[in-house]
């Protein structure tokens, strides 16, 4: 499948159409919504990591002037089903224990931040005043913060009715792993730990809900998946589907996965709006946000690689233990991320024999929530850094070890069942090696060493999902993987595109316009994009996992292609020429007869006939010009490669290091807008650097979160990160109409192994290894000491 129209818009770095409104301060984010008569919600949360609630005294809060209502858990629970209804529970096999959860805690709290009381007041200031007056009596219970402790048979149970603390347990395996390990010349065996960190978008969560008995519930909420949320609310609250309307704002201040789950507050505010018959607004504060969302990674990998002496990996065994937190979020339950991390563990490498045992354990922390590089971050670190350790152990150049193992034939199905559709991973890797000037860096390294300077080079790869087809998405999230779009030509010949997804800064208004403009031979200004409103857009799973350029935009292309024959038939009819429905070109907002280009007609005139003047249509033709399409790729999975390389200089006295160069070679199939793709790569790398080096959700032994402000959760600023060089190495996929693939999700993934391998290379100390994230100067300094004094 290739495009039949001449490409005029796709592939160009066009300035974004959404920017003017954002640049003059006219963007409309959730906090900017207000409805007359609106009250404000504030949530009182647990200050204990694990405790029974003995008593809640809300009397003083209720009496406080300006308070509209104070609501506790049982009342909310009585009004709905337990939140984790079957449509938002994954179907991944294995052994799953499902926690019961309602919007507010009733008799027990499981983590610091667990919502307990809802206060609704006339102003947000008053709501917080009243929150100070709520008195909650707790009886403390033992707190579990370590998943390995929580797995022990004698560990106290977090959920009384469970048989143990195992949320989900399963295995991904294929091939003869035992044989591979028996035949191996060398077995690498290490414990890797990727700490709890994640996305933390600049805009926190928020919602404005209103209700009346005729139109039902309308909730504006900065979710990534309005349609799924609508479905969930309708089912959990037993409301007719037509009485639930979810609208995601046009402008959402970043999400990176954190706004994809179904959250308790979304059900809570829906209930409150219904109960009070008043619009209610809730904007999560940063402290709540850092206590609740964006906490991901947090995996332990007991990784073993069976390797030949030439450096070929013939077997992989891993015991993955994930700290899932309380696991009580819809769609993901705190275990889908580690599951996918396991499925993607072998990354871009051809490893025939694999066995991964995954244990997702509940602890007294908030549930893991998706964060960019969904589940992959710790695994990428473990796998790619392990390959560098293998190279060192076997005295091979890591470049050769990587080249030997990179997937070369496409499509390729991994031992964990992941399909790599197409690409040239080896070419991308070699391009990176060239861009790094690898051999020269090695010479410079030797020179620098003579002067006491320790320079090192490292690299890692990341094959990232570019959307997930239904074959994976249905079991994984109980949702379709297809992209959905409606293309509608209006009475003025302008084109309205409705997408089922709902972006948060990815620039769909620009890129989707570029795609449609090419298909219908118009300019981008002739196109307007609608998204977010579940009452008008086609059903789809939301903007996540690189779906856009793979699935959603492909659906828009298909919708255009559905319209084209009808447009041509009308054109032929109006021009009075014979046509088989495929002998016109679309250009300059006109439909031109290929046989005689003087015979042409404006798209606007066709729209006019189809919509306003149906008498002008061919006999029997249905009026209107619109089409909806659902795109599903003819392959189980599409992935795209990114190869990262870094040159660093390390101070061995303090462990401090400086990134001298950071280079990314990136493939996104056909870039619709290369400038936007580069922006995704830059942002992904910096998020990876923040996660790998600075950011950490820390807890004390009582489960108290210690990173509840941005002074403690260290997201990098402009001064903390280096320049990032991006080199395009694009290989169009044959599985989408434009050859495009989504980009952005997986980019943080290769960062930790890239940095760790470069640091290890610079230090050149036998036995030195980085096994734990984050990589801080102190952790490097410690590892140096450990390597120097073998225990």
């Amino acid at each position: 499948m290739t495009s039949v129209t001449e490409s005029k818009w796709v592939g160009r770095s066009i300035r974004r159409r959404e920017d003017p409104r954002l640049l003059v301060g006219a963007g409309k984010y959730i906090a900017d919504y207000s409805i007359p008569g609106m009250a404000y919600l504030h949530v009182v949360r647990s200050t204990h990591g694990h405790a029974r609630i003995l008593n809640i005294d809300i009397s003083k809060a209720e009496d406080y002037p300006g308070v509209v209502a104070v609501i506790t858990g049982q009342e909310v629970a009585d009004a709905m089903k337990p939140m984790l209804v079957s449509s938002i529970i994954p179907n991944l096999g294995g052994e799953l224990q499902i926690p019961t959860v309602y919007p507010l805690a009733i008799d027990k709290v499981q983590w610091v931040g667990d919502p307990i009381v809802a206060i609704i007041a006339e102003s947000k200031y008053i709501a917080e005043d009243a929150a100070q007056l709520v008195e909650i009596e707790y009886e403390k219970l033992p707190v579990l913060t370590d998943p390995e402790e929580a797995m022990k048979p004698d560990a106290p149970k977090i959920y009384d009715n469970w048989k143990d603390n195992m949320l989900w347990k399963g295995q991904l395996a294929s091939g003869d792993v035992d044989k591979a390990f028996k035949e191996a010349d060398y077995v690498l065996s290490e414990r890797f730990y990727g700490h709890r960190t994640g996305a933390a978008p600049m805009e926190t969560r928020g919602a404005v809900a209103s209700y009346d008995e005729f139109t039902g519930l309308t909730i504006h909420v900065n979710t990534q998946r309005p349609h799924i949320l609508r479905m969930a609310i309708s089912q959990i609250m037993s409301m007719p589907y037509d009485k639930v309307r979810v609208i995601a704002p046009k402008d959402v201040g970043g999400a990176f996965g954190t706004k994809a789950p179904i959250y308790r507050e979304e059900l809570l505010i829906s209930y409150i709006a219904m109960k009070l018959r008043r619009p209610v607004k809730w904007v999560e504060n940063r402290m709540e946000s850092l206590m609740t969302i964006g906490q991901e990674r947090d995996q332990i990998h007991y990784l073993e690689l069976a390797v030949t002496k030439e450096g070929k990996i013939i077997g992989l065994r891993d015991r993955l233990i994930a700290d899932s937190g309380d696991g009580r979020i819809g769609v993901y339950l705190g275990f889908v991320m580690p599951w996918l991390g396991a499925a993607y563990l072998s990354n871009a490498y051809d490893i025939p024999n694999v066995q991964i045992d995954v244990s997702c354990v509940v602890t007294n922390k908030p549930s893991l929530t998706p964060s960019r590089a969904f589940g992959e971050f710790p695994g990428r670190f473990a796998m790619d850094y392990a390959m560098h350790l293998v190279a060192r152990e076997l005295k091979l150049d890591p470049r050769d070890v990587f080249e030997k193992n990179i997937i070369k034939q496409f499509p390729h199905v991994t031992a964990t069942g992941i399909t790599h559709d197409s690409g040239d991973y080896e070419g991308a890797f070699r391009t990176l090696i060239e861009a790094l000037d690898y051999d020269r860096v090695r010479q410079e390294q030797a020179e620098a060493r003579k002067n006491g300077r320790l320079i090192g080079v490292g690299f890692a790869m990341g094959a990232e999902m570019s959307g997930l087809g239904s074959q994976i998405f249905v079991p994984m999230e109980n949702q379709p993987g297809y992209g959905a779009a409606t293309v509608k030509i209006d009475t003025h010949g302008m084109i309205q595109v409705f997408e089922g997804d709902s972006p948060q800064g990815q620039g769909h208004e620009t890129t989707l316009s570029q795609v449609v403009a090419d298909e219908l031979g118009v300019t981008m200004d002739d196109i307007y994009i609608s998204y977010g409103d579940t009452f008008v857009t086609p059903f789809a799973s939301g903007t996540l996992g690189n779906r856009g350029a793979s699935y959603t935009f492909s659906a828009a292309v298909l919708a255009c292609r559905k319209l084209r024959p009808k447009i041509q038939q009308i054109a032929a009819h109006l021009l009075g020429v014979e046509s088989d429905g495929n002998d016109f070109t679309f250009a300059n907002k006109e439909i031109v007869w290929k046989k005689d280009p003087s015979k042409k007609i404006a798209l606007r005139d066709i729209a006019d006939a189809a919509i306003l003047g149906p008498t002008k249509l061919p006999r029997g033709m249905e009026a209107g010009l619109e089409a909806t399409a659902y795109f599903e790729a003819d392959i189980a999975g599409m992935l795209s490669i990114g190869v990262h390389g870094a040159v660093v200089e390390v101070n061995p006295d303090t462990g401090d290091f400086k990134i001298l160069r950071y280079v990314v070679v990136d493939d996104c199939g056909v870039p619709i807008n290369p400038m936007i793709v580069r922006g995704q790569v830059h942002g992904g790398v910096v998020m990876g650097m923040g996660n790998a080096r600075f950011e950490k959700y820390a807890f004390d032994e009582a489960g108290q979160p210690l990173s509840t402000t941005l002074m403690e959760y260290h997201m990098p600023s402009a001064a903390d990160v280096p320049d990032i060089e991006v080199i395009e190495y694009n290989v169009p996929t044959p599985y989408t109409p434009l050859g495009s693939k989504g980009k952005g999700e997986g980019i943080p993934g290769p960062v930790p192994a890239t940095l760790a391998s470069a640091i290890t290379d610079a230090l050149n100390i036998p036995g030195f290894k980085i096994l734990n994230l984050p990589i801080t100067p102190e952790s490097i300094w410690r590892s140096i000491n450990e390597a120097k004094v073998p225990t």
Partner: protein, 151 residues
């Protein structure tokens, strides 16, 4: 968070013990302790205002004395809950009389703070704890001198 320390009190062990377990003295000496109301044997309802300088949190809770052996040892169990979260302390106190006018007070315990303060004040927490302990024993020494002068 571990809270350990050894402090000198210019009094013998019996007097020191009495001072350290006397609710009236505690209200005077313990930083932030506003009131103690007996609700049982060595069990009190407490109002606390813990903090330093302008930074303060109000807590309501209980103070309990356990494992007490007069003149030798006791355990102080405190907890408070308030709008900012909670404070808790469980401290074992041992007295070692070094002369008839001098007793060493060995404190070994755990303190924990939960809620807003835990997240904001972590970097200062152990410093604040040792500062508050210092303030407490400074005040206690004054009480001991006062007791001596009175006797």
């Amino acid at each position: 968070m571990k809270v350990n320390g050894t402090y000198d009190i210019p009094a013998n062990a019996i007097t020191t013990y009495e001072l350290l377990t006397d609710p009236d003295v505690l209200v005077r000496t313990m930083p932030g302790l506003k009131s103690l109301k007996s609700i049982g044997d060595n069990h009190y309802e407490a109002e606390l205002e813990v903090g330093i300088s302008v930074v303060k949190g109000r807590y309501k809770g209980t103070v309990k004395l356990e494992d007490e052996i007069a003149g030798e040892q006791f355990r102080l169990v405190m907890n408070g809950q308030g709008p900012l979260g909670f404070v808790e302390m469980n401290m074992f106190v041992q007295l070692e009389q070094t002369s008839d006018q001098q007793t060493k007070v060995h404190c070994e315990g755990e303190a924990s703070v939960g809620g807003v303060v835990a997240g904001i004040g972590q970097r200062m927490m152990s410093g604040v704890a040792s500062m508050l302990m210092g303030q407490f024993f400074t005040a206690m020494r004054k009480e001991a001198s006062k007791a001596k002068n009175a006797s």
